[in-house]
């Protein structure tokens, strides 16, 4: 089966029926009005206490079958027959034991702390005409990312310190004005992009006594120009990933930057966290894609004077900005590399007899520098999980074929179903080269006992990336909590780190009194010349625990210690935020921390950008 070009046009595995950014329509009417009605849009479309779109979620229907609602995704509207058994089998979960979110989705402002407003700042802000709000819903919505503890608290109706107001600058100059006023009146500013942080980066420091302003960049979402001679695009930093790709696609281009969160995360957020995209093998990570950055800091605007593709002008100032996690200023505009849209795209998958062989194959692929746009290796547990998410097959013929495949792999080829694992592949480029490339990769795979397992499996693997976050909400309805975290590690450590971290999670759960065996699984999601990025997923059934979130946090903490003890990095692309900052000193040395501190002290002496991430 060949992939049609239309499918490529929408961002890879996503099938979006409509644009999300309702706010685009709204702008223009709200200048100077402290109004929020129109800005509700965002959470009319999106859940306020869970992942993603309000209309898309997993649920168990009256027949007890799992179903994914909505129309946005490939899986939408489908029955997933295997999910119930998998959940019951893996977690010991039971459909009878429900834990729905305790407060109704309609927020009551009484539950939220009253806003601490800085009167003088407010007055001057009003005179600029930049829209703002101190409505409870607006504030709560921007007080969190998507860490488990954040979502769990929301579901229980617990709100800690939340921003005191939200402002919506419309352009770079608006941001300059806001930051000037914030400095003048000593107000704390926390930039807010897509809100998909998983490092507690958006949490308001509880000790902050100043008024906290959440600076929402969502209105700065335009592509300002496209330069086809140099293949660059100048974009406002508030633009969300899928909009950026869609708009560029209209002109026949793409950035190729596709982090798993691309439906919701923003360009400014990518820059601030050093994001990584699925197809980095072709397009590069954010640091490879960025040509020019404009950032507003309390000291003024920082930017380079030209767009030379590489410069030898001392340490690259972009590297102070990338990964600064909102502690230095707000990224307002970015010039990015763009590429013509690929002519052809093809998914693929390979089954390996075991994880060791799979890793050896990925290593060889990296060595030969022939990695496809994306190559990912799931371990056995994740393979089974992916299997459980197979939608109901429509014809007897397909199910017969499936049975035949299973028979071939397990009986004929002798693969142990409890050990085998799957790599998913995505090739991109012109048709000829893709096919050639495909052959090269499958040949290498064969040397490691890998069997080609079809495009369908591959495509489903990538689709899972986008729906897996929805699945956590379903788990939370049935006493199951979980999270993913990532690291990067040299090749010789990959197997060791996977084994040890998974084992550590299982042991810690047992030690902390978790009554059911946890799900502890991993996958290798990126390959580099010298190492790989590894993703861990971990979830458990918390029935019988009085403080599940605390247990969860202890286990995650232990898992991170294990990662570091096994030569893994603190983070590959999620960032440090507040969740991981205790390990920063060990990670970058005392002098390193000192260097970063002195930059912060110069750029923002009054800690206006006071989210306290990183250091």
């Amino acid at each position: 089966m060949d992939m049609s070009v239309e499918c490529v046009a929408s961002a890879s595995a996503l099938q979006h029926q409509q644009s999300v950014s309702g706010v685009v329509v709204a702008k223009g009417n709200i200048v100077g009005v402290p109004c929020c009605a129109l800005l509700y849009c965002k959470f009319e479309i999106m859940k306020w206490n869970g992942w993603g779109y309000s209309d898309s979620k997993f649920l168990f229907n009256k027949k007890g079958q799992a179903e994914f609602t909505g129309k946005r995704y490939r899986l939408s509207g489908m029955i997933i027959p295997g999910l119930k058994d998998w959940m019951e089998g893996t977690f010991g979960a039971n459909l009878q034991h429900k834990t729905p979110a305790t407060v109704s989705p309609l927020l009551t402002s009484s539950a939220v702390q009253p806003a601490t407003l800085n009167k003088a700042f407010l007055e001057e802000l009003k005179s600029t005409g930049i829209p703002f709000s101190h409505d409870a819903e607006d504030r709560v919505f921007r007080a969190h990312g998507h860490c488990l503890h954040e979502i769990f608290a929301l579901r229980e109706g617990k709100f800690g310190r939340v921003p005191d107001m939200v402002v919506w600058p419309n352009c770079h100059n608006d941001v300059v004005k806001i930051v000037e006023l914030a400095c003048k009146h000593n107000v704390c500013v926390i930039p807010y992009g897509g809100g998909t942080s998983v490092s507690s980066a958006l949490e308001c420091p509880p000790e902050e006594t100043r008024s906290i302003v959440s600076l929402d960049t969502s209105q700065m979402n335009r592509i300002l120009w496209i330069d086809e001679k140099n293949l660059t695009a100048h974009v406002e930093a508030g633009i969300v990933g899928q909009d950026l790709e869609r708009l560029l696609n209209e002109s026949g281009y793409c950035t190729g930057h596709e982090p798993d969160s691309m439906e919701f995360s923003s360009l400014g957020g990518w820059v601030a966290t050093r994001a990584s995209g699925m197809k980095k093998n072709i397009y590069g990570n954010i640091e490879d894609l960025v040509i020019h950055i404009r950032m507003v800091t309390p000291r003024g605007v920082i930017e380079k004077s030209c767009q030379g593709p590489r410069m030898s002008t001392g340490p690259d100032i972009h590297h102070f900005i990338m990964g600064s996690e909102g502690t230095l200023g707000v990224v307002t505009e970015v010039t990015m590399k763009i590429r013509p849209m690929p002519e052809y795209q093809k998914y693929g998958s390979v089954v390996f007899p075991n994880f060791e062989q799979g890793v050896a194959c990925l290593r060889e692929v990296a060595k030969q520098r022939c990695a496809p746009a994306s190559i990912r290796l799931m371990d056995n547990e994740q393979f089974k999980f992916g299997h459980a998410l197979k939608p109901q097959v429509s014809s007897i013929f397909t199910s017969f074929l499936d049975g035949l495949k299973t028979f071939y792999i397990t009986k004929f080829k002798g693969f142990d179903p409890n050990r085998l694992c799957v790599a998913t592949l995505l090739f991109e480029g012109d048709r000829e080269k893709v096919l050639q490339h495909e052959k090269q990769v499958y040949d290498i795979a064969a040397k490691f006992g890998g069997l080609a397992a079809g495009e369908d499996n591959g495509q489903r693997g990538y689709m899972l990336t986008f729906v897996i976050a929805y699945l956590r909400d379903l788990g939370m309805d049935y006493y199951v909590i979980g999270e993913s975290f990532e690291t990067s590690v040299p090749w010789d450590r990959v197997l060791d780190i996977c084994r040890n971290v998974k084992a550590r999670i299982i042991q810690e759960c047992k030690d902390k009194g978790v009554q059911f065996p946890p799900l502890s699984t991993c996958r290798v999601t990126q390959t580099y010349d010298t190492g790989a990025c590894v993703y861990f997923y971990f979830a458990f059934n918390y029935r019988g625990l009085s403080d599940p979130v605390h247990v969860y946090e202890q286990v995650e903490h232990a898992a991170r210690e294990e990662i570091l003890a096994n030569g893994g990095s603190l983070s590959h692309h999620h960032g440090v935020g507040k969740l991981r900052k205790e390990w920063m000193r060990d990670t970058v040395s005392n002098v390193g921390v000192g260097m970063l501190k002195s930059v912060k002290d110069y750029v923002d002496p009054d800690n206006i950008f006071g989210n306290r991430n990183l250091l």
Binding site: D492, R493, D496, I497, N500, A503, R504, A565, N566, G567
Partner: protein, 659 residues
């Protein structure tokens, strides 16, 4: 609550130990042949298939570590890499085991016969076996048995075979290889051979460590070795050797395995096969070189009764939990793990502490037989006689009465005492005495010993010393129970006042001095002092006030007993000091030391100036020299003119040890 937990942990009466099963019983009731040929299907580490010896060898030879070292050696010496590779391969050939089930079955058959003749019973804690079985499935396992006899490792494999547990590969000293046939037999039953010393030989070290690690990491078989390095001739645990422990902990520290389970095993013999051999060896009759013919001569031992053996498989210790909070494993992040490096100080001290903990775990689970008590009492009595210049022995009733007192004391101090409950005390005592009739005799009436006219006084002294040293080795089995309280008792005796600080200082001095002699964890002085105080106070022998330590009225007997336990050691150290002060010349070499000091001691013993024949033990003499070296009282100087291994001992200011 935490404090309570600590208290509970420290209270020796509350130690929980498993029950024993006699595994010989079934052997006596069913066919040995069928037993040797039965189906043997041990559980393995996470269902791994056992690996052929040849495959193991090729894994070692292809390892990154060995490749690296071969390259290094070839660069340093200018030899061709192939040449070095060949040498490595030869080393491995000499070293590697080739476990064969048929040989194991042969041993299972013959050992059944032998054991049934030699021993009344072989008792094993089956719960420990179950724990071991569990541990083997979870993580790679290292078995650490105590080492008192050549029997130990055959016995271990025999037990594991019996209980259907994966057979271990065992690190054995090269000296066994001298016995051609036996050496190969042992190899086929799972032994691998290492040279006793290979200090600077990088290649040898690399092959050896990679071999052990490969076996361990892949969980093909439990690795077994003796932490004490060699058989203890005195029944005291020996200061642990760290080389192999370092190697087996390395895969965990480098993250190559999730965890490693270390299982201390305590093997206690009611009567040690090598009893007299050891004593003679320590008195200067060199040990016969292991040879096959020597082994056959040992056949005469088959006709004797060696009582029972107790084997206790301790709680598996997770290396991960030992290292928790002690070792920062990130230290391996910046250098490729296959490049051998000297362990950091942090790791050295961790391995050292762990080794001590493990040896103490062995000690704690050593089963003590009634004879240990009797030997202690008889020796003390002998010493009293010695001072009085008589040779009376002890009246049986008195011995029995004292044994009851001592038994209760052992129990109070948490000893793992095996005292047959259903028999009367007198019966227990008599049966113990008769088992050891080579050492003690019950005579009808008290009669003065008749001096043999045919022997010289020196010969008589030495033959008596053989008996005394043998008895002392049985007494030593129980030493660890009382060691800390005994150090405290001696410290109270030696201190100039009862002030706590004074006593502590004197305790700390004694402890420091004796740390080559006994298992005393480095750096745990305060802990040991507190433990000693706690035990003596708990048993009512001591009162501790804010300032002072006072021995109670009823504690006098206890304290006297405890002090007299350490007395022979104190005298031994004193006499070594005296020798060094009075007789040692400028160029006393290390080799000459033992014979010279022995001569000196014999002279003094014959003159009646010394009380304890025990001080003739070369073990004691070597330990005291090592202690004096460590304390800086004596210095070792490499001589230029002499041959390389000759060292000069120069006497520094020998510290006088208080009486």
């Amino acid at each position: 609550l935490a404090q309570l937990a600590v208290q509970l942990h420290r209270d020796p009466m509350l130690k929980k130990r498993d029950d024993f099963e006699d595994m010989l019983e079934e052997r006596r009731n069913s066919s040995d042949l069928r037993y040797a040929l039965r189906c043997y299907t041990p559980v393995l580490y996470k269902g791994l298939a056992p690996c052929k010896a040849s495959m193991l060898k090729s894994m070692v030879l292809q390892s990154d570590q060995l490749h690296h070292v071969i390259g290094q050696v070839s660069r340093e010496t200018g030899r061709a890499a192939d040449d070095v590779q060949e040498e490595a391969s030869a080393i491995l050939e000499e070293m590697a085991h080739c476990l064969q089930l048929s040989t194991v079955r042969f041993f299972a058959f013959t050992l059944s016969k032998v054991f049934k003749t030699l021993f009344r019973s072989i008792c094993v804690n089956e719960e420990g076996i179950q724990r071991l079985q569990q541990a083997i499935q979870e993580h790679p396992v290292v078995l650490l048995p105590s080492h008192r006899s050549y029997m130990d490792f055959l016995l271990m494999s025999y037990i594991l075979y019996t209980y259907d547990i994966a057979l271990p590969v065992i690190a054995a000293g090269m000296d066994f290889m001298g016995m051609k046939f036996v050496g190969e037999m042992l190899r086929m039953s799972g032994a691998f051979f290492i040279r006793r010393s290979f200090g600077g030989d990088k290649l040898y070290w690399s092959v050896f460590s990679e071999y052990v690690k490969t076996m361990l990491k892949n969980g093909f078989a439990p690795v077994e070795f003796f932490l004490e390095g060699t058989r203890s001739r005195t029944s005291k645990s020996l200061t642990p050797k760290l080389g192999l422990l370092n190697i087996v902990m390395d895969p965990y520290l480098k993250g190559e395995v999730y965890d490693i389970n270390v299982v201390p095993v305590s093997i206690s013999y009611e009567r040690i096969l090598e009893e007299a051999l050891y004593a003679r060896e320590m008195l200067g009759v060199p040990k016969p070189k292991e040879s096959t013919s020597g082994l056959f001569k040992a056949r005469k031992v088959l006709s004797e009764d060696y009582g029972s053996i107790h084997v206790y498989f301790g709680q598996p210790v997770s290396v991960r939990s030992l290292a928790q909070g002690r070792v920062n494993r990130c230290q391996f992040n910046l250098v490729p793990r296959h490049i051998p490096r000297r362990p950091s100080e942090e790791i050295q001290s961790f391995v050292n502490d762990s080794a001590y903990r493990l040896v103490r775990a062995q000690e704690e689970n050593m089963v003590l037989k009634p004879w240990v008590l009797l030997a202690s009492l008889l020796l003390q009595n002998h010493h009293q006689d010695q001072t009085a210049g008589q040779k009376r022995g002890m009246v049986l009733e008195e011995l029995t009465a004292q044994a009851v007192w001592l038994r209760d004391m052992f129990r109070e101090y948490g000893a793992f005492l095996h005292w047959p409950g259903m028999n009367t005390v007198l019966k227990v005592v008599s049966s113990s005495l008769s088992l050891h009739r080579g050492l003690v005799r019950v005579c009808g009436q008290v009669k003065p010993g008749e001096p043999h006219s045919t022997v010289t006084p020196e010969e008589e002294l030495l033959s008596q010393a053989v008996i005394v040293l043998s008895c002392a080795s049985y007494r030593n089995q129980g030493l660890h129970v009382f060691l800390r309280p005994a150090l405290l008792a001696s410290a109270i005796n030696a201190a100039s006042s009862n002030l706590k600080q004074e006593v502590f200082n004197s305790f700390s001095f004694l402890r420091n001095m004796f740390s080559n002699e006994f298992i005393l964890c480095p750096g745990a002085t305060v802990q040991d002092f507190e433990e000693a105080c706690y035990l003596l106070v708990k048993t009512g022998a001591l009162q501790v006030t804010q300032q002072e330590l006072l021995v109670t009225e009823r504690g006098q007997r206890t304290v006297a007993f405890l002090t007299s336990m350490l007395d022979p050691f104190l005298q031994g150290y004193q006499v070594v000091c005296r020798f060094l002060c009075e007789e040692a010349t400028e160029n006393l070499t290390e080799k000459q030391f033992v014979p010279a000091v022995r001569k000196f001691i014999i002279k003094h013993l014959l003159a009646g100036r010394l009380r304890y024949t025990e001080v003739l033990s070369s073990d004691l003499q070597k330990n005291s020299l090592a202690a004096l070296l460590r304390l800086g009282a004596v210095q070792k100087i490499k001589s230029r003119s002499e041959s390389f291994n000759t060292a000069l001992l120069r006497l520094g200011a020998v510290q006088k040890i208080k009486a």
